[in-house]
C-alpha cells in the first residue's frame, strides 16, 4: 500500500479502495448471474419436457381422449389404440415386485440399523448399493439367460402344482412372463427401498429405543413398539419410492416380460408394460397416430411417476424434515 502511494501520489487510497470494491461487486454479480442461469435451466428444461410430451401426444389425446386408458385394442394398422393392457401390466409387475421386495428390504434395513455388529453394517450396505449400480440392461440379460430358465424348470412348476386352485398360477408356462418381470423388478427396487428405509430408521432418536428397552422390552419388541411406529411414514415413503422406480423401469422388463398386448389372469402369461411398449415400438412406429399414442403413454407414465414420487417425498419429510434423506438414493 505504502509503495503504491509513493509511486502514484495522484490516486488517493480511498479511491483505490472504492474501485476494488466496485470490481468485487461486479464479480459478484457475474458469478451470481452465471449460477442463476444454471439453476434456471432446470425448471425451464422440465417445462420444455412437459410441453414436448403434450405436443407429441396431442393427436392421440384428441382422437381417443380418456377412453385410451380403458380400452385394450392395440392395432397400429387400423390405428386403433388403447393402453389398458399396458397400464394393467405396469401395475401388476410393480405389485409383484413390491410384494417380494418390501419384506426383504425392510428385514435388511432393520437388521443393519438395529442389530448388525458395527463391522458388518458398512460392507453389507455397500454390497447392496452395488445392486443399484448394475445397469438395467444387464439385469435383462441375466433374466433372459439365467433367471427365466431357472424359474421355468423349478419355481413355476412348483407354484402351479401347489396353488393350482388360484387362477394366478394356472395355464401354460412360457418363461417370459409377468411373474419373471416382477421378480427382476423386485431385485432392482430392493436396494432403493433398503437404503432409504435404513436412513429413516437411523434418523429415529435413540431415546425411543432406550425408553422401550428400559421398560423391559426385548430388542425385537423395542423395534416393533418404539422404532417402527416412529419411522412409519418414512418407511411408507421408501416403499412408494420403490414403486415409482418399478413403474418406470424399462430395459430389464422389456427383455423378460414377453411383450404381448394382453390382459391375462395367469402370472405365467406374457404381458406388457407402458415403458416396455415405448421401448419396443417407438423407433419402429409407422404413422403419426402410432407415434402419438406412444407419446401419450409416455405422458401418462410421466404424470403417474411424478405423483408417486411427490407422495413418497412428503411422507419421508414427515419423519426427517430437511435432513435430505433419500435425495441421494433417488
Amino acid at each position: 500500500m505504502t509503495t503504491s502511494l509513493a509511486s502514484e501520489p495522484s490516486t488517493p487510497p480511498d479511491v483505490q479502495e472504492s474501485r476494488s470494491l466496485e470490481l468485487a461487486s461486479y464479480g459478484d454479480r457475474v458469478f451470481r448471474w452465471l449460477l442463476t442461469l444454471g439453476a434456471l435451466f432446470i425448471p425451464v428444461l422440465l417445462g420444455f419436457l412437459v410441453y414436448e410430451l403434450w405436443q407429441g401426444s396431442r393427436l392421440a389425446i384428441g382422437e381417443f381422449g380418456l377412453s385410451f386408458v380403458t380400452t385394450s385394442t392395440w392395432d397400429p394398422v387400423a390405428e386403433e389404440f388403447g393402453a389398458l393392457p399396458l397400464i394393467f401390466g405396469t401395475l401388476i409387475s410393480a405389485t409383484i415386485a413390491l410384494v417380494i421386495a418390501v419384506p426383504l428390504s425392510l428385514g435388511v434395513a432393520i437388521y443393519l440399523s438395529e442389530f448388525a455388529p458395527k463391522s458388518v453394517r458398512q460392507p453389507v450396505a455397500f454390497l447392496i448399493s452395488l445392486l443399484a449400480a448394475i445397469p438395467s440392461v444387464v439385469y435383462g440379460l441375466w433374466g433372459i439367460f439365467v433367471l427365466i430358465p431357472l424359474l421355468r424348470t423349478t419355481a413355476f412348476p412348483f407354484l402351479r402344482d401347489a396353488f393350482a386352485f388360484l387362477p394366478l398360477f394356472q395355464g401354460p408356462i412360457y418363461g417370459p412372463s409377468m411373474f419373471s418381470a416382477g421378480i427382476i423388478l423386485a431385485i432392482m427396487v430392493m436396494p432403493y427401498i433398503m437404503s432409504v428405509s435404513r436412513e429413516v430408521l437411523l434418523a429415529v432418536p435413540d431415546s425411543q429405543r432406550e425408553a422401550a428397552l428400559g421398560l423391559g422390552a426385548t430388542r425385537w419388541e423395542a423395534v416393533i413398539t418404539a422404532v417402527l411406529p416412529y419411522a412409519r411414514s418414512g418407511i411408507a415413503g421408501a416403499v412408494i419410492l420403490g414403486l415409482g422406480r418399478a413403474l418406470g423401469e424399462t430395459m430389464a422388463v422389456t427383455m423378460v416380460i414377453g411383450n404381448r398386448h394382453e390382459i391375462a389372469a395367469s402370472l405365467f402369461a406374457p404381458g406388457y408394460t407402458m415403458a416396455a411398449a415405448i421401448a419396443n415400438e417407438f423407433s419402429e412406429a409407422v404413422g403419426d397416430m402410432h407415434l402419438s399414442a406412444l407419446a401419450y403413454v409416455a405422458f401418462l407414465l410421466f404424470v403417474v411417476t411424478v405423483l408417486v414420487n411427490a407422495g413418497a417425498r412428503l411422507l419421508i419429510w414427515r419423519v426427517a424434515r430437511g435432513s435430505g434423506i433419500g435425495s441421494k438414493a433417488l
Partner: protein, 281 residues
C-alpha cells in the same frame, strides 16, 4: 420366567429371519457377477476391443464401435450435464433463501424420479423429430438431462457441509463473495463434487432406454455426433435379444465390460471421497 424365555426366543428368531433376508438379498448380486464372469470372460480378447463386429451369424469380430460410441456419447453428455448440474448445485447451496432455489430443488427431485424412457421420448421429440434423423447428440442430451439432478443434489449436499466459519473468515479477510465461493467453499468440497460427478457418469454409462430411439445403435464405426452411433448398453440389448448363439456370447462379454466400467467409476468415486474428504466425519 417361561414367558420371558419365549419373548427372548421370538426376538432371536426375528433376528435370524433378518439375517436370512440379508443373505437372500445378496444372492442375486453374487450370481449376476458370477454369471457375468463365467459366461463373459471367455469372449474377452484383444479382438473384442479392437475389431468391428463380424457379419451376423459368423464368429469373430469385436465391439470396438460400441466402446468408442459409449465414450463419445457419455463424454458429450458429461460436458453438457456436469457444468449445469454443478452450477445449479452451487446456486442452491449458496443462496438457500431464494425462491429459485426452492423451485430448482423441487424440479430436480421430479426429474430424478422421471423414468429414463420418458426422457428418451423427450429427446426424440426435441432433437430427432426436428432434425428428421437419429443422432448420438440426442442421446447425449437425454443422458445429460438424467445426470443433472444427481450432480445438483450431491454438489449441494457437499457444499452444505462446509462450516460457515470458513466463509466468514474469507469474507472478513476482504474476499468478495464470488472468490469466497470458488476459492474457499468449492475448493474445500472439490473431492465431494468429483465423487458426485463420477457417480453420475457411472449411472448414465449403463443407461439403455434413452438411447433406443436417439442414438439408435449402428453396426459401423461412427465418429459423427450428428449420426446414429453404437453404444455398449445398446449392443448388450441387441445381442441378447438376437437369435444367434454367437451374439449371446458377445452380449455377456459386453455386459461384463459395461459392469466393470460402472464399478470402477463408482469405486473410484468412493475412494476419491474417502481419502481426502473428511468433512463427512
Amino acid at each position: 420366567m417361561n414367558r420371558r424365555a419365549l419373548r427372548r426366543l421370538v426376538s432371536n428368531a426375528m433376528v435370524g429371519l433378518m439375517v436370512v433376508a440379508v443373505v437372500v438379498a445378496l444372492l442375486p448380486l453374487f450370481f449376476i457377477l458370477l454369471d457375468l464372469v463365467v459366461r463373459g470372460a471367455g469372449s474377452l480378447s484383444a479382438d473384442f476391443f479392437t475389431k468391428m463386429p463380424a457379419p451376423a451369424g459368423e464368429s469373430g469380430g469385436g465391439v470396438a464401435h460400441a466402446i468408442v460410441g459409449t465414450l463419445i456419447i457419455v463424454g458429450t453428455a458429461s460436458l453438457i450435464g456436469l457444468p449445469i448440474g454443478i452450477a445449479a448445485g452451487i446456486y442452491c447451496a449458496e443462496y438457500p433463501g431464494s425462491r429459485l432455489t426452492w423451485v430448482t430443488r423441487f424440479v430436480a427431485d421430479v426429474m430424478n424420479g422421471t423414468p429414463s424412457i420418458v426422457v428418451g421420448v423427450f429427446a426424440w421429440a426435441w432433437i430427432v423429430a426436428t432434425q428428421k434423423h437419429f443422432s448420438a447428440l440426442a442421446g447425449s442430451a437425454a443422458l445429460a438431462m438424467l445426470m443433472i439432478p444427481m450432480v445438483l443434489r450431491t454438489t449441494e449436499e457437499m457444499i452444505k457441509l462446509v462450516p460457515n466459519s470458513l466463509r466468514e473468515a474469507a469474507l472478513a479477510l476482504g474476499y468478495p463473495r464470488w472468490r469466497t465461493s470458488l476459492a474457499v467453499v468449492v475448493r474445500t468440497t472439490l473431492p465431494g463434487i468429483v465423487t458426485g460427478s463420477l457417480l453420475a457418469v457411472a449411472r448414465i454409462a449403463g443407461e439403455t432406454a434413452p438411447l433406443l430411439f436417439t442414438a439408435l445403435g449402428s453396426q459401423y464405426m461412427s465418429l459423427d455426433i450428428n449420426q446414429p452411433m453404437a453404444a455398449l448398453p445398446l449392443t448388450v440389448f441387441t445381442y441378447a435379444t438376437g437369435p444367434y448363439e454367437e451374439w449371446h456370447r458377445y452380449a455377456w462379454a459386453a455386459a461384463l465390460v459395461l459392469i466393470l466400467v460402472v464399478f470402477v467409476l463408482s469405486l473410484g468415486a468412493r475412494l476419491a471421497i474417502g481419502r481426502r474428504f473428511t468433512l463427512n466425519g
